[in-house]
């Protein structure tokens, strides 16, 4: 058995028993990356020397048996700042940007003893659903190399699915953790808004962004979320309430739980029937496990996409004003005035999709359109949030497909931005409502993994992990390995 086939929990046991050293684990990671990276292209940068020396130090000091993540590897999405390690957000704008501080999540992982092995590819500034918008490279889906890994956290998902790392961090503004998790057959959690500090996450849509973990198993995911959660004085939107141990009660099962099935999320007329069929089969499993299935309605779901694209783009247009070529980032050459410096630096530094979002956002906030666009979208957001609140009066959590299709072909949607936007239909309402949702593998369609999302009440990730774990125990989708179809 390959070292990297083990879960984080198993690896920890081996480190404590002395069956393995942290150095061996980290070396295995880089060996696996060497073997697979030419096909996958998940990483933008590796920090091999630092990681190996950290592992050696960890081994010398002795692995803390109480600290379950100590000495174990993780990959970080490249829109999360890492002190001294180039952080690009996959943009030419930040090609040479070396942060002078660590994101709170990076500090917390370091405290937990985790070792960052490198920075992972994404759609530029996390805008996109295929990772094809990266200014530097594309990332391929380990199940079929002609397909996208999803996005925007495509590198984070592909690296875990390809067995390069047992865990990674991504960020989710409108589905950027859940969609790639679904497309690559792994577990991806978008925590409740506020659960995880956003300090050091390069901002996209500040009222929607959340950082969360990718792993192959549910329990591993809960372990990483344990490490990164909690209030942070540097992010005033971070939650001041207590952080539970997300693994507590994870084995208690779903007997007696009520699962809501939002009818608007089951597109029976969809082209790829295998997705809805897989989720229906999963619901049967839940029934067998003693849960009760209740149909619910989220009537404003269809307004999710328009409301999301207005709000996320408006916030992005404001957040991305900071990239002006002055204090950091790309600076245009041969300019004659300050105004020209701003305009040329931004126009040359940002990619097309980023400019499209800035334009949509600026338009939606501009005089004459604010009421019809931004204000209206904010009202729609209230109605969408209320839909969830009403549903949660009757049920413990919701189950729905994460996406309407399995992973699509590279190049399949990139020329049609509107079609790419519409693909987010099942993921964006969760961000608008601020509730948590985890995508887990629940079947296959066209030989590609299908993801289902479990959506919970605010700050009730525990129920989601418990229910996801119960499903995982009676299925083996998470144990199946990608085939690298079409690989060299």
């Amino acid at each position: 058995m390959n070292i990297l086939d083990h879960t984080l929990e198993e690896l920890h046991e081996k480190l404590v028993n002395g069956d393995l050293t942290s150095l061996q684990v980290i070396e295995a990671v880089y060996k696996r990356i060497e073997e697979t990276e030419a096909n996958i292209g998940a990483f933008l940068a590796l920090s091999k020397e630092e990681a190996l020396s950290q592992a050696r130090a960890m081994d010398e000091a002795g692995i803390d048996p109480k600290n379950i993540l100590s000495g174990l590897p993780i990959g970080i999405k490249d829109n999360i700042v890492t002190k001294g390690v180039t952080t690009t957000a996959a943009s030419k704008m930040l090609e040479d940007f070396v942060p002078v501080y660590n994101a709170t999540v990076v500090e917390k992982l370091t405290e937990a003893g985790m070792i960052s092995v490198g920075k992972l590819n994404l759609d530029e500034f996390a805008m996109g659903g295929s990772t094809e918008n990266s200014a530097f490279k594309i990332t391929r889906n380990p199940w079929d190399l002609s397909k996208v890994p999803g996005g925007s956290s495509g590198g984070s998902a592909a690296a875990v699915a390809a067995g390069q790392v047992p865990a990674s961090l991504g960020s989710d503004t409108g589905g950027s953790i859940r969609e790639p998790a679904a497309f690559t057959g792994i577990v991806g959690m978008k925590p409740t808004y506020g659960r995880v500090s956003r300090y050091g996450l390069i901002a996209f849509g500040s009222s929607l962004d959340q950082i969360g973990p990718f792993t192959r198993t549910v329990k591993d995911n809960a372990l990483v979320l344990n490490a990164i959660s909690g209030h942070d004085r540097r992010d005033s939107t971070s939650y001041e309430g207590a952080t539970p141990d997300f693994t507590q009660g994870i084995e208690e099962g779903v007997k007696g739980m009520r699962i809501g099935v939002p009818k608007e999320y089951f597109h029976e007329e969809a082209k790829e029937k295998g997705v809805v069929e897989s989720v229906r089969a999963a619901l049967k499993k839940y029934e067998e496990l003693g849960a009760e299935i209740v149909e619910v309605s989220l009537p404003h779901s269809k307004y999710g996409i328009p409301a999301y694209y207005i709000i996320a783009s408006s916030e992005a247009s404001s957040n991305l004003q900071r990239f002006d070529g002055i204090r950091y980032g790309y600076r245009a050459k041969e300019v004659n005035s300050l105004e020209e410096l701003y305009v040329k630096s931004r126009s040359e530094g940002f990619g097309l999709e980023v400019k499209r979002r800035i334009m949509l956002g600026t338009f939606s906030l501009s005089a004459g359109f604010y009421d019809a666009h931004f204000k209206k979208a904010a009202q729609a957001r209230t109605l969408i949030r209320q839909d969830f609140e009403k549903a949660f009066e009757k049920v413990d959590f919701l189950v729905a497909p994460t996406t309407t299709t399995t992973a699509f072909e590279l190049g399949g949607k990139i020329e049609d931005p509107l079609e790419m936007y519409l693909a987010d239909i099942l993921t964006v309402p969760v961000n608008l409502a601020g509730v948590p949702a985890v995508s887990i593998p629940c079947g296959f369609s066209n030989d590609m993994p299908v993801g289902m999302q479990l959506i919970g009440k605010h700050f009730d990730e525990q129920t989601l992990y418990r229910a996801a774990y119960a499903f995982e125990q009676v299925t083996d989708f998470h144990k199946q390995k990608p085939l690298f179809k079409g690989g060299k």
Binding site: D96, V100, P306, Q379, L383
Partner: protein, 101 residues
């Protein structure tokens, strides 16, 4: 509504972006399709509905505004392209007289 190239140029100016003349036609068409999509919201009755502008339902609590040294000045200048005497050097804001204006 549908937008035209003039609107796109106006919005680009607000956003401090510029588009090459030959790409502006295609970009306008694309943006117009996206705007038509988001304007599906017109069908939604939102009379009397308060807008949601934040991601949190709990209250945001401001911490005390206490001065604390967290960064070295030099570190914060690490990513600045042109600096001089502790300042960031940029092109002239006012006409410096050399352009002949």
């Amino acid at each position: 509504m549908s937008i035209n190239e003039e609107t796109v140029k106006h919005v680009a100016k607000l956003a401090k972006l510029e588009f090459q003349e030959e790409t502006i036609h295609g970009f306008t068409k694309e943006l117009d399709q996206i705007i038509q999509m988001v304007e599906q919201l017109e069908d939604l009755d939102t009379t009397g509905v308060e807008g949601t502008y934040h991601g949190i339902t709990h209250h945001s609590v401001l911490r005390k505004d206490e001065a604390k040294k967290e960064f070295e000045r030099d570190d914060l200048f690490a990513n600045v392209k042109t600096k001089q005497d502790g300042f960031i050097k940029v092109p002239a804001i006012m006409d410096n007289g050399e352009s002949g204006a």
